[in-house]
């Protein structure tokens, strides 16, 4: 048995176990005992998914329409390819092009689908730290003991067997930027994972991508600081100054152990922000909080990524001038509280303004416990973004902002073979995702 087959076998076992867990309460009740994770029983997944893959065997994806989401030299999206072919060897994409222009290797496993896209990327999620049941035992996305805890590693709290991973994967999401949630001034670290079910080591792409911070009402406390916006900024400033001083002490100490300050995980984590190694992912929605975020980044010179940013278009010029990317709020974000001025057109208008942006599923305290970026991008498309731009916010544009575009985000030679298969326009409400591959392995063969 090849390593690939072994892995697929293990995955199937895990999927089966999850299914049993999901439907345990339903056992023996006479009606379809398969539960919400089962997909649609009367519809077929993509043709060819059921074939086992032997060692060294290439895979060929034959697409009615192939959206590669590659960019040309000018940055424009490559047009979709009718009757497109993707050849996969050793987990990577080996060839892409229209049928006839690509040599189809002998003995390949052939998978067919009407519409093919790159595996989708969720630009900002909490899945894996936050679980579907929403009780204390599966909610590790926010540690409330202190307002500033940049040392909290997402890698220490990621549950690779969380059913929500399976849920978003079944819509085509293969990569997720996940981690600590908005809700505290600095809530912790974020990471980037593949959505395959398993352990952390199977999933992790980037163990530390950003430090997650929050400004505005969501990070206010009633019984301790911060309780005002001014206090929020003062506390952030102090924490960054402390980290800068720590870094300066380290630098001055050189190799002299006598002069080195003691290890301080908190200051070290913020030091990586100050050095520009790690971006500060700042969740803020209201204009005043976005203004504060920009001012703070000007003061300290860190790399800022705006998270959510419902009112960002009121500061489009300042954001664009600074080259700050936006992981934009889900278009279906509720029009309440901090998001009261959110618009379903935010993404389209960010793109029109030339501001790099990607879509996020975000964080929800109740339901839906995760949003699905495919469904959010569909709304962005319906509300003004072109098809390619909207798909870009959950493929290559997201990969670029997340620093992983050399590996994922488009169907191009050399990239990971992360592929999503659909039976029609992926954005249409009544289309289905009919299969998903991560690094050439079938990770979802259900119809969603």
């Amino acid at each position: 048995m090849s390593p690939f087959a072994a892995r697929t076998g293990r995955l199937r076992t895990v999927l089966t176990l999850l299914l049993l867990l999901a439907t345990g309460a339903a056992a023996g009740q006479g009606t379809p005992a398969d539960g919400p994770m089962a997909g649609l029983p009367d519809r077929a997944p993509a043709k060819g998914l059921e074939q086992p893959l032997s060692s060294g065997q290439p895979t060929v994806i034959r697409a009615g329409i192939l959206h590669t989401q590659a960019r040309d030299a000018t940055g424009a999206w490559a047009p979709p390819i009718s009757d497109g072919i993707v050849v996969i060897r050793d987990r990577r994409i080996a060839a892409v092009g229209p049928a006839g222009s690509v040599i189809i290797p002998d003995g390949a496993r052939v998978i067919e689908a009407p519409v093919v896209t790159p595996g989708l990327i969720d630009g900002r999620s909490v899945v894996g730290l936050a679980g579907w049941l929403n009780y204390g035992h599966d909610q590790d996305q926010l540690e409330d003991s202190e307002p500033i805890q940049p040392e909290l590693q997402a890698t220490d709290a990621f549950n690779g067997r969380e059913p929500l991973l399976e849920w978003i994967r079944s819509f085509g999401v293969t990569t997720a930027h996940t981690g600590h949630a908005p809700g505290n001034l600095i809530s912790g670290q974020t990471m980037i994972v593949k959505t395959r079910t398993g352990e952390l080591e199977d999933a992790v792409v980037t163990p530390l991508f950003a430090i997650a911070a929050t400004l505005g009402d969501d990070a206010m406390e009633s019984d301790r600081s911060p309780g005002t916006r001014a206090k929020q900024l003062a506390m952030l400033r102090q924490a960054l100054l402390d980290a800068r001083e720590h870094a300066d002490q380290l630098r001055r100490a050189g190799d002299d152990p006598e002069k080195r300050p003691g290890r301080d995980l908190r200051k070290e984590a913020l030091g990586r922000v100050l050095s520009g190694e790690v971006p500060l992912l700042l969740n803020c929605h209201r204009s005043i909080d976005i203004q504060n975020a920009l001012r703070l980044s000007d003061e300290f010179g860190f790399r800022l990524i705006l998270d959510g940013a419902a009112e960002v278009l009121e500061h489009a010029d300042e954001v664009k001038a600074r080259g700050i990317p936006v992981l934009a709020h889900p278009p279906m974000m509720r029009a309440t509280g901090q998001g009261e001025n959110a618009s379903m057109t935010t993404v389209a208008r960010l793109i029109a303004a030339g501001i790099p942006c990607a879509l996020q599923s975000g964080y929800e305290g109740y339901v839906p416990k995760t949003r699905v970026v495919l469904l959010e991008a569909a709304i962005a498309c319906a509300y003004g973004a072109s098809f390619a731009d909207a798909l870009g916010t959950i493929t290559l544009s997201a990969a670029e902002i997340l620093g992983i575009s050399a590996r994922v985000g488009s169907i191009e030679v050399g990239k990971d073979a992360d592929i999503a298969l659909y039976d029609g326009d992926p954005f249409e409400y009544t289309s289905h995702c009919i299969g998903v591959l991560i690094e050439g392995q079938v990770v979802s063969a259900i119809v969603r």
Binding site: A26, P36, L142, G337, N341, S343, V367
Partner: protein, 451 residues
């Protein structure tokens, strides 16, 4: 919902608009923005989906005095003299959407004093100036059942509203022929209403408390009957029992929040014991007990959310509920549960049910006529039928396509949403001023999750 700021600025403009009252003939092309109520209006050229009959390509619907007066194919439908023709060629016309379960207006019913408070009437707590009302008409909603929350076994009375362009809630509320306000009774079981005393701590206690209250209401009704109008023998008025008496008499529908399979069956058991008419709401695990629901003849109002869970009892919510219940011939409606889902995306919910196997016809009926039936309003709304209120929505495409937009919404013949008007477009798309400045404080919100 009063368009308090906007109406003032729009009225003079409207007066200046050319109002074309011509002898009727086809080809009088008016845009959606230029028609004005008064005299018959023929909406012509659209694909009309009446819901209670087959779609009519190139149809005509005539509206007069708030009602539908004629409907049919363009070739055979007679148009009244002295009216206006609105050309809707290329458009799709469907009945106004009916949401059987909404929290628009952010009202509350019972307070924290106890789990059973039927005397609280949400009618008295709904803020119709909440922007959600403007967003709802942007989504094509015309009739809603506004409910108190699910944190009580009985959280209060619900109120049925037409989304008219009114100034007070009295302008929106639906009344019966005697002028009485129409509404139902909100009940809940499962985990939302399990709290510290005096709230129940277990499911058995929940049912026992409800049973005791209904028994008290039954005794109350019997005393009234025995008194035969004798004021000496009549019991004192009890506002907390009267809605239950109405429910047991079939005059007030019970709208019952329920998720888990056994909770669903508990509702059916209580309904059977006390003879109240019930609509099951949410019904996450309906697919597990679809046959039992069908056998009981109960109706279901469903919600679909973008992922399962959020709490244990909603873990097994399934997109296929609509298809499965439809296959068992269970009456199915949908609801927004607004703010849980956004009223602007109500068509989307039914489309997702179609994605999961429900028929398109069944899904559109679930958004309209089936909802009307669950609110006892099918005689006046829910389908495009001669004699019914002219509650309808103009779409620019397939009702179940993501790319389709609501162009206009009409309640009783009056346009309450017009996408070509910038102020209305704001509420359709969002942006500064389109939302609510306060976050809803629901039963289950919390940074560390639900109880």
């Amino acid at each position: 919902m009063r368009r308090h700021d906007i109406r003032a600025s729009r009225s003079p403009l409207r007066r200046l608009r050319p109002v074309l009252l011509l002898p009727l003939a086809f080809g009088v092309a008016l845009t959606l923005a230029t028609e004005d109520p008064g005299g018959p209006i023929a909406y012509s050229g659209a694909t009309i989906i009446p819901v209670d009959g087959p779609p009519i390509p190139n149809g005509v619907m005539v509206v007069n005095d708030g009602r539908i007066t004629a409907l049919g194919p363009a070739e055979t439908t007679l148009l009244p003299a002295g009216g206006t023709v609105v050309d809707l060629s290329g458009r799709t016309l469907i009945p106004g959407l009916i949401c059987t379960h909404s929290h628009l207006g952010r009202g509350g019913g019972g307070d924290s004093a106890g789990p059973i408070q039927p005397e609280a009437d949400i009618f008295e707590a709904v803020n119709i100036r909440n922007a959600g009302f403007r967003r709802a008409v942007a989504g094509g909603l015309t009739t809603i059942n506004v409910m108190p929350g699910s944190g009580h076994l009985i959280s209060g009375q619900t109120t049925y509203l037409k989304l008219r362009d009114g100034n007070t809630i009295d302008d929106l509320v639906l009344r019966d022929a005697d002028g009485l306000r129409l509404g139902g009774l909100k009940m809940a079981n499962g985990t939302n209403s399990l709290r510290g005393a005096p709230f129940p701590g277990t499911r058995a206690k929940s049912a026992a408390l409800v049973r005791a209250k209904y028994l008290a209401a039954r005794e109350y009704a019997e005393k009234i009957a025995r008194a035969a109008g004798d004021p000496e023998k009549l019991p004192s008025r009890d506002l907390s029992l009267e809605p239950l008496v109405e429910a047991m008499a079939g005059k007030r529908v019970v709208h019952h929040h329920t998720h888990r399979h056994d909770d669903i069956l508990t509702v059916l058991r209580l309904a059977n014991e006390f003879g109240f008419r019930v609509v099951l709401h949410h019904v996450s695990e309906a697919w597990k007990v679809a046959d039992e629901i069908a056998a009981a003849g109960a109706a279901c109002s469903l919600i679909l959310i973008d992922s399962p869970g959020g709490k244990l009892e909603a873990r097994d919510i399934d997109y296929r509920n609509g298809a499965i219940l439809e296959s068992r011939r269970v009456p199915v409606a949908f609801h927004t549960d607004d703010w849980i889902t956004d009223s602007r995306l109500f068509l989307r919910m039914a489309a997702l049910a179609v994605r999961a196997g429900m028929t398109r016809e069944g899904a559109l009926r679930a958004l309209t006529l089936s909802g009307a039936e669950m609110l006892d309003l099918e005689a006046r709304t829910g389908s495009l039928t001669v004699g019914k209120d002219a509650d309808f929505v103009v779409l620019d495409g397939d009702p179940f396509s993501v790319y389709t937009k609501v162009l206009a919404t009409y309640v009783e013949g009056r346009k309450v949403f017009d996408r070509s008007v910038p102020e209305d477009l704001l509420f359709a798309e969002g942006g500064r001023g389109a939302g609510d400045d306060q976050t809803f404080q629901g039963c289950c919100m919390g940074r560390q999750g639900a109880r």
